[in-house]
Symmetry: C2
Subunit: 368 residues, 2 copies
Amino acid sequence: MTSATRPYGTRGTRGSVGSQGGTGPGASDGQEAAAILERARVSVDPELRAAVDALPGPLRRIARYHFGWEHADGTPATGNAGKAIRPALVLAAAAALGGPAARAAAVRAAAAVELVHNFTLLHDDVMDRDATRRHRPTVWSVFGDADAILAGDALQALALGMLAEDPHPASTAAVARVAACVVELCAGQQVDTAMERRDPGEVALDEVLAMAEAKTGALIGCACAVGALYAGAAEEDVDALDAFGREAGLAFQLIDDVIGIWGDPRHTGKPAGADLAVRKKSLPVVAALSSGTQAAVELAALYAAPYEPADLDRTALAVEQAGGRAWAQDQAADRMSRAMSELARAIPDPESAGGLLSLAEFVTRRSN
Amino acid sequence: MTSATRPYGTRGTRGSVGSQGGTGPGASDGQEAAAILERARVSVDPELRAAVDALPGPLRRIARYHFGWEHADGTPATGNAGKAIRPALVLAAAAALGGPAARAAAVRAAAAVELVHNFTLLHDDVMDRDATRRHRPTVWSVFGDADAILAGDALQALALGMLAEDPHPASTAAVARVAACVVELCAGQQVDTAMERRDPGEVALDEVLAMAEAKTGALIGCACAVGALYAGAAEEDVDALDAFGREAGLAFQLIDDVIGIWGDPRHTGKPAGADLAVRKKSLPVVAALSSGTQAAVELAALYAAPYEPADLDRTALAVEQAGGRAWAQDQAADRMSRAMSELARAIPDPESAGGLLSLAEFVTRRSN
């Protein structure tokens, strides 16, 4: 790798990707990222709340519950609406390429991207029968499937409608980009749900990587691209920002999958090895299964049998011995390195790229 | 009513609204409408198919099945994609206000409106657990809930994205209008599904009318408004076209509800009194229940008891004796009259309004 494609070498250290907590550059970046996230929330929240509050009565109530602003009975809550990384990326990309004016102009677009993300969460939870989201019961489990589907549908319409109505010259291109991204997100989720029903041995690693890029990378890339559009960036820079976000998003997913197996329950809030217990075909598992090793044969046998808590350690060990953990960590580092290259292509000045860099490192260092 | 607000008196005859089949103006209008629908299908189908075929693999297959272009196994079908009234209304409104050039320019917008309609059908069928649509098994019953939800989500994104990318100057306003309409459709469906769980006696007629307007009238109105936008019409004419479509859509729903009780099974393809058997809170039933008559008391008792086929005739008679049928037919005629007034406001020349008029009368005279 040449220095031209990796100008932020001091921060994009391979070994540190996905490390849980600790001190050093990661910790200080985490503080910087937290400050960026907080500033983004302060900017975007009023726009987001105004959009949601414009929904008709019952849909508004469902959406407000989902965002953690209300309890199920309609009383106010000081809830947890998630880290809102995507709107922060919209604003950071706009600021990096167009300065404070572009950041200010992109606030509505940032809110629209966050609405799209939440529309997909509402629907994914219905499809995956996930009962908990952000430490609270999911919308479908409180209000029923129909309300969750309808609130999601309405949030998608709200997002694309408010983006179209934005008088900013980039608004039309942003609608087209976000709409294309939604199609990709749906395709990724479709492959994911279809994969659930397939035999683990029949799932190819390339398929799971493509699915993860569509399901997780696409919207993170889109958020960065929308920010670039709102900064009036050239098409190639918009595309580079999209690629940056996609690669960082994929790195995030790889780390998330590692945490899903080896994460510390005290940090993750989930039982140890949660993904193994539900026989999830996560990236480290599929990499392990396709390794051609003896450990892969053992893992396949364990995955084919019903889950026994006593087998958990053996299963995690088999994934590790088959090289699944090392592969995922290398892949994550490689993706982050590619992300840095794309970022450097669009924004050669590391100073300007700082916000995006901090956010990308934050999501790939997360321990919960 | 003054002649100024009802210039199309010879066609908007009260008594004929909702009449099933027969000869006279209805039959010839039906032929005219059929020709308009066929021309619209020829114009819109290529755009619609191109949009759907741009979806990624599995989503494309699900959508192509839904539209009746493919069987579930992926082999081609010469299917029934529905009457496609909404895109025909887009084109008819554009033609009425802007001539053939406006009609030609509105083809993509017409396809987008049809995509939105089909997105709502896919989701409504999941929520309502309807197993049959256009004489074929619904998508969820063939592919599962997740695929039906995702295909619907993708069709909404496709619709708004292709509308945003349309270089026509009306495109942005159309995206905003269609997005607002989707929110209204969701709100209507939300009220409808919530109503299912409520006691029939607690449901007010105004609520059901508002729900029907949101669920059925809004998109028909939106279709007409989008056509007007593409003709470059003044805002007040766009709004009048919207109101025309809403009123006609509500008339359609009233007639549909009458057919759901008294329709001839040979025409409707559904068993006689199908809506009564499932205790549907349709407009004639709620009107009957809130009539304060002795028949309303009897109807309430019948609706509170489990369905017995032997009670069907008595139940239908109770709705009729309580005035539910006459009310619905009068309301439908009244709504059609209001629709005509709105149309005359925007398009004073009956010759120019002919296509919209034929379509509106077609949907409210339908017998299946």
